[in-house]
């Protein structure tokens, strides 16, 4: 009864580690078993230690996990609550092989108008690292677009549901650096609408495994009434382009 994923998949939204808020297997082994079950070619991934404990230790764990497995692409995190604004720290992330930076706004409570965060937005300039941020409610995306505009790196908004659609569509016209991830794009015609209004090149596939069910995200793309070419872009090639190629 497993959906056979015939199309090539790159997943921008995966995690591994330990989830303290409820009992669920988020181990690296579990993530890899899902990658194999659904024939996912590439995943951007990050240790949950970065979200819940210490981003420096978490980043080390992420690098170790991705080392030697070309399917796993390391994502770094910086926790603004612990960030002292150093540019060298961000440069180091890039040098060590991280391909993106993720903020865990869904688990870490800080406002957007917050000096360490604003400094991080600035320090990411010129690093060529896409920024992944979880959308937590009305207006967050608007502020992020404003603070990251013109800085030269793409921003991928994760966890966008029906309530984020109009905000993204309006913002996307004036913010070519803004992208939307698919895991919670759950209206009946979200993909048709976004493809028509902003183009499929701005939509990046993500599932949220192993915290989420994979087939929910995949089926919404696979069953959308958009062209096969658009599906291929969303499921794989847009992310490959953003990262300027996969390892």
């Amino acid at each position: 009864m497993v959906v056979i994923t015939a199309l090539k998949i790159a997943d921008v939204n995966t995690v591994f580690g330990f989830f303290p808020k409820r009992k669920i297997d988020c181990s690296l082994e579990r993530l890899i078993s899902l990658i194999e079950k659904y024939r996912i070619s590439k995943v951007l991934t990050i240790s949950l230690k970065s979200a819940f404990y210490d981003h420096v230790e978490g980043n080390e764990e992420t690098l170790r996990a991705c080392n030697g497995d070309s399917r796993l692409i390391p994502v770094a995190s910086v926790d603004p609550r612990a960030y002292l604004g150093g540019l060298d720290e961000i440069e180091e992330l890039r040098k060590r092989g991280f391909r993106a930076v993720r903020l865990f706004t869904e688990f870490q409570s800080y406002p957007l108008d917050y000096a360490p965060l604003l400094k991080l937005f600035k320090n990411l300039e010129g690093m060529d690292l896409p920024l992944l941020i979880y959308n937590t409610g009305y207006g967050l995306m608007t502020k992020i677009a404003r603070e990251t505009r013109g800085r030269g790196y793409p921003v991928i908004m994760l966890g966008c549901s029906y309530s984020a659609l109009s905000e993204f569509i309006v913002l996307s016209r004036e913010n070519p650096h803004l992208y939307i991830e698919t895991s919670l794009l759950d209206t009946p015609d979200a993909f048709e609408l976004l493809t028509r209004k902003v183009g499929s090149s701005r939509i990046i596939f993500g599932s949220g495994i192993p915290l989420n069910y994979f087939e929910s995200s995949y089926l919404m793309v696979e069953r959308a009434e958009i062209s096969e070419h658009d599906k291929e872009l969303i499921l794989y090639y847009n992310l490959e382009d953003l990262l300027k190629g996969f390892p």
Partner: protein
């Protein structure tokens, strides 16, 4: 999709979001695309605005020969109007249940007014679909299930999710369903927390779990994928997708 589906939680009408697949033609297309043999709809207009207009428009669109059935929506702020709607529609074969949304009406599920409506509708012997999105909502349904042992209550969204990511709402709903045999769990929700379908089947059994899409707000694929991904048996999936609803709604 090879498995036939009955959708226990569907809506007819618009939402205040950019969703254009909300007319009956789009709905029929979605039903065909996902092999839905039947779906039970409530009117979004009746839920968020005017129950009389919404129920009337829904009634005009129902078509049991195409598997399109309805819930009559009540609003306990308008007790007499709600009773009138129950009387007007609930005995018709097109209508298979009663829908109540606590958030939009602002009336708690376990309220004097809603209890009065349950008593009024009880003789029709049709289930109630209740929007549940907090532990209080779950407790309220438990109270009603205890008080009205002969009435079947469906917890829409299975208690829902919460900002804390702990799953405590849906875990409470599962506990309630495992205690009261007249509580059913309908499992659609935006957040996809893995493990909840497995836990519901393990603790409450698959006989009272229902597939719901929440279309036209949500994409049917969202919850279909959740069930397909879940690590439960094929028989459990068939019950959730089809068999349980067929029995409950007498389709």
């Amino acid at each position: 999709m090879s498995i036939p589906i009955i959708d226990a939680h569907a809506h007819y009408g618009k939402w205040f979001f950019p969703i254009y697949a909300s007319d009956m033609r789009s709905i029929k297309d979605l039903m065909l695309r996902f092999n839905m043999k039947a779906a039970i709809f409530s009117s979004s207009k009746a839920i968020v605005y005017n129950l009389i207009e919404g129920n009337r428009e829904l009634f005009q669109s129902l078509d049991p020969s195409s598997g399109i059935y309805g819930y009559v929506t009540v609003n306990p702020n308008y007790l007499e109007l709600s009773k009138g709607e129950i009387k007007r529609y609930l005995e018709l074969p097109e209508f298979r249940g009663v829908k109540f949304h606590t958030t939009y009406s602002g009336v708690p599920i376990d309220s004097k007014e809603f209890r009065e409506l349950i008593e009024y509708a009880e003789p029709y012997d049709k289930p109630f679909l209740l929007h549940t999105y907090s532990q209080k909502d779950v407790r309220d349904v438990e109270n009603l299930a205890k008080r009205f042992g002969g009435v079947k209550f469906i917890m829409g969204h299975m208690g829902g999710t919460e900002a804390s990511w702990t799953g405590k709402n849906w875990k409470s709903a599962i506990s309630a369903a495992s205690e009261y045999s007249n509580i059913y769990l309908e499992i659609c929700m935006t957040r996809l927390e893995a493990g909840k379908v497995e836990e519901a089947v393990e603790r409450a059994g698959s006989q009272r779990i229902l597939y719901g899409s929440d279309m036209t707000l949500l994409n049917p694929a969202h919850t279909i994928g959740m069930i397909m991904s879940s690590e439960i048996s094929k028989e459990d999936k068939e019950r959730i997708f089809y068999i349980n609803a067929k029995r409950l709604f007498k389709i």
